[in-house]
């Protein structure tokens, strides 16, 4: 993740926010699939496969569960497969469920990318001057999840060293994990208070308090800014004009293949694949330079 991390924070944040907004407000499966594959490939490309394997499994199960549970709650649609207690299980409900699952997972993936690229330093730089209080709350919250994971591991290990989890029963071990969880919550809440007190002691948010930052706007940032703005505008105009409308109930509508719609698809594909292409290009250049040494 060399390219995207070095982009000017406001440009990178804007770029990711366009993608998130488009994913959240569109139901078009073409856009959802592009955002999904683009985000997933970017994650796979920029992190160790060992790290991401568990997450891939989680995403897969999330999509599966949403796909299977939607027909339980929705019986609309013209092609029933079979009936359960007099309620139809339809193709349309399953299709809607899978589309919604993919959408949810792509939002999760792009938020993960957002958290990786806009780290707390950049976040404070972006929002620290306008709304210092909100910025600190959000950056502490974003830091919370990886910190919780690490601390859960610590607690688990020390419990193990103390001789817990020796029972052969899986049920007993699950109950012990609950115990570890309550320790985790207590520790984290206490720590959040400590952090707040420590920030206040250092004068964060006081008038005249300045921050040192190393970010500067370069020419490549302008390129990213313009291409991001252009692609997002092309996609959003397609959504507003109704070319990208897609409906599942009562019939699954056909994918719009008219020239303006295809133009919007291409624009969104550029928007979602550009980070991946930039990273790939950078790593190719890196290996090329290394081979010449």
């Amino acid at each position: 993740m060399k390219v995207f991390q070095n982009i000017f924070p406001a440009v990178a944040a804007g770029y990711l926010i366009y993608i998130l907004i488009i994913i959240m407000f569109s139901a078009n499966p073409v856009l959802e699939l592009m955002a999904f594959t683009g985000g997933l490939l970017f994650c796979v490309f920029t992190s160790e496969f060992r790290e991401i394997r568990k997450e891939l499994k989680f995403y897969f199960f999330l999509i599966l569960i949403i796909t299977l549970s939607n027909p339980v709650f929705s019986h609309n649609g013209i092609t029933p497969l079979f009936f359960v207690n007099g309620n139809a299980v339809t193709v349309e409900a399953i299709a809607y469920g899978s589309n919604f699952g993919v959408m949810l997972v792509s939002v999760l993936i792009w938020f993960k990318i957002f958290g990786k690229i806009i780290d707390s330093d950049k976040f404070l730089y972006l929002f620290g001057r306008g709304t210092p209080r909100l910025a600190i709350v959000v950056s502490v919250a974003m830091r919370y999840v990886p910190m919780l994971k690490k601390r859960a591991m610590d607690i688990y290990k020390s419990h193990k060293a103390l001789g817990m989890y020796t029972s052969e029963s899986r049920f007993d071990r699950a109950v012990s994990l609950l115990n570890a969880f309550s320790v985790l919550i207590g520790w984290s809440l206490e720590n959040a208070l400590d952090t707040a007190a420590s920030m206040r002691a250092r004068g964060f948010g006081l008038k005249g308090h300045s921050c040192y930052s190393i970010f500067q706007f370069r020419r490549s940032d302008l390129l990213f800014l313009l291409s991001g703005l252009f692609c997002a505008a092309a996609t959003i105009s397609g959504m507003v004009s109704g070319n990208l409308d897609f409906i599942f109930y009562p019939e699954i509508s056909k994918i719009n293949m008219s020239p303006p719609a295809v133009f919007s698809y291409i624009a969104f594909a550029v928007l979602t694949y550009l980070p991946l292409l930039a990273e790939a290009g950078e790593s190719i250049r890196w290996t090329y330079y290394k081979s010449k040494i």
Binding site: S74, N76, I78, G86, S169, P250
Partner: protein
Amino acid sequence: MKKDILVLFSLILILLLIISGLNFQSVDSYYLSELESVSPDSKTVTVSIHCDGVLNYIDILNKDVAKHIPDDGDILPETVCPIKDGETVFDILCRVARNNKIQIEYKSDLQSGAYVQGINYLYEYSCGVNSGWIFSVNGKFPGYSCSEYELQDGDSVEWIYNCAQGKILD
């Protein structure tokens, strides 16, 4: 170990209980079940389903839904249907929908009874914020759940799609 087996066993038991409560039917057997013929001495009611009101607002309706609405707004013309004692408006609606291959969707719970959300792909809220399905028996709107209303011999039930922003249409 013993505890594990106990927990697993009870989970399987719960799962089996849920599955035994479900009744799976193929599409054909669903539509063909509960067909009943009218004999001279059976008690009958008449049922009809219309959505005439929607025809005035057809352009604000989603075009895929509009495609399935009949031109005259009669989803089901007046039909004679045999009833058993104690059958409710909701039971009869389910049966005629089955026999005439009309799609319906409803919510039901023990407290407030059944509520019909959509008939023939036309759902509540599709035609303005106060639109939805209401029913009348012999020209009167009871104003409570269709699964609470028990029918008598000779009643006439009408299901109407109401677009009139909360007012009941004549």
